[in-house]
């Protein structure tokens, strides 16, 4: 693959990937390059709105994601690229994928939004999550062959949260009650994958704006359970899950009886497995420093 020009996939970053989760983006881009594809950031992008409108009468919520799909479509036409739009953030994935589904199944909605925006989305884009690209296009078996680091000492629990999986009918990425994609990803890296029941429990999401104590409690339930099942760290694909689970651990009253559990983006771990330099991946910016666990995993292998 390295002999040819890498495949360029239109990429939508979203607000958090450019700010709080910049290490997620940087590690993902560097891993992609190593694997053999390039994430080609859309030039003129706007916020997706972060949450998909659940009520049928709230069409305004589709205008922002529609603009993004239009930009992606334009890019694919210009470059004769496959009609894919790759995302990293689980919220962006959810919002864009559900918008894609709405336009595919309810042409009237698309017509209304096109008229409102005075632009034309033809409905050709397929939104795909980075993990999905690794599974379906690269293949986890091929990914396993690219791993350069012995990861066999890493005991990692996959944490899916909500937005990557639900609603299944519209996203179709994996089973929301019993997902395997991140398990298979960790297996491909050669980690000891820790399966735990809390992997699909909600971290509290945007409730951090109103009820941070509840977020601490939910995060505690997830992290203490993962630790009980033997995990040294969690991996996630959602910046809000990462920050809720990570920063809640500052609530020492809630977390008094368990050790700290680092929470990594799955691409930060992928970078280590591929033998990349992790500088700029912002491991040091996490509230719970993951570097001791990483050093421990790499020692003596």
């Amino acid at each position: 693959m390295s002999e040819e020009d890498p495949v360029r996939i239109p990429y939508y970053p979203g607000c958090t990937l450019k700010t709080k989760a910049a290490g997620f983006e940087r590690s993902a881009m560097e891993c992609a390059k190593q694997i053999g594809f390039e994430m080609d950031e859309l030039k003129d992008w706007n916020c997706c709105g972060a949450s998909y409108p659940l009520t049928k009468d709230n069409l305004m919520g589709l205008a922002a994601p529609a603009n993004i799909l239009i930009e992606a479509e334009k890019r694919c036409h210009e470059q004769e690229a496959d009609s894919l739009l790759i995302t990293l953030c689980a919220f962006c994935y959810n919002t864009l994928k559900r918008t894609e589904f709405a336009f595919n199944t309810e042409p009237k909605k698309l017509e209304t939004i096109n008229a409102f925006l005075d632009r034309k989305y033809e409905g050709s884009i397929r939104v795909i999550h980075y993990l999905e690209y690794l599974r379906d296009v690269i293949g986890f078996d091929n990914l396993a062959k690219m791993v350069k680091t012995d990861m066999s000492k890493f005991k990692i629990a996959p944490y899916y949260g909500c937005m990557l999986l639900k609603p299944k009918k519209e996203l179709g990425l994996d089973d929301p009650e019993d997902p395997v994609i991140m398990h298979d990803f960790l297996d491909a890296l050669g980690c000891q994958t820790v399966d735990f029941p809390g992997q699909v429990d909600c971290c509290g999401s945007y409730l951090i704006m109103r009820e941070p104590k509840k977020v601490s409690k939910l995060s505690y339930n997830i992290l203490s359970e993962a630790a009980e099942y033997g995990a040294q760290a969690l991996v996630t694909a959602c910046p809000l899950c990462q920050t809720n689970l990570d920063q809640s651990q500052a609530d020492s009253a809630q977390f008094s009886d368990i050790d700290e559990v680092p929470v990594l983006y799955f691409t930060q771990l992928l970078a280590i497995a591929l033998g990349l330099n992790t500088e700029g991946h912002q491991l040091e910016d996490h509230h719970v420093d993951p570097r001791p666990v990483i050093a421990d995993g790499l020692e003596g292998v």
């Binding site: 009520t55 049928k56 919220f91 609603p167 409730l207 951090i208 109103r210």
Partner: protein
């Protein structure tokens, strides 16, 4: 003693169904939504829906628990009758926000919180509570 919900409540429920695209009478009160709800809502999702089934819109729209829903969609995914409780709760929130006070403000959150907050939490939080 209130024994009839009254025309105002019934009209509001019809509008809620129209706006959300949900059919509230489809719910047969199995309680699966409530059993899986991580938000410790009280009144719980199935209770809110029962209020609406009985015509008591005011009780549902003014229930403090609607603000604890984090749209994790567990209820919607598990409902055996294909009702979407999260959408109904969002419909109640929207109705509340359109007619009454908002539930979050930049002033209340303060500069320090906003400077350190995760951007997507702020965007989605403002969408749900403002």
């Amino acid at each position: 003693m209130l024994i009839s919900p009254g025309e105002k409540n019934l009209k509001a429920i019809r509008e809620l169904e129209l706006g959300t695209g949900e059919t509230i009478s489809d719910c047969y009160q199995c309680g699966k939504c409530t059993a899986g709800c991580p938000a410790e809502m009280d009144p719980a999702p199935s209770v809110l829906i029962q209020y609406l089934k009985l015509g008591f819109f005011e009780q549902a729209v003014n229930a403090e628990s609607i603000w604890s829903c984090m749209t994790c969609l567990t209820c919607s995914e598990r409902c055996p009758k294909n009702v979407n409780p999260a959408a109904i709760i969002e419909g109640l929130k929207l109705r509340h926000l359109r007619t009454q006070d908002s539930r979050v403000s930049a002033e209340l959150l303060g500069h320090e919180f906003l400077a350190n907050a995760t951007q997507q939490a702020v965007v989605s939080g403002f969408r749900k509570f403002l």
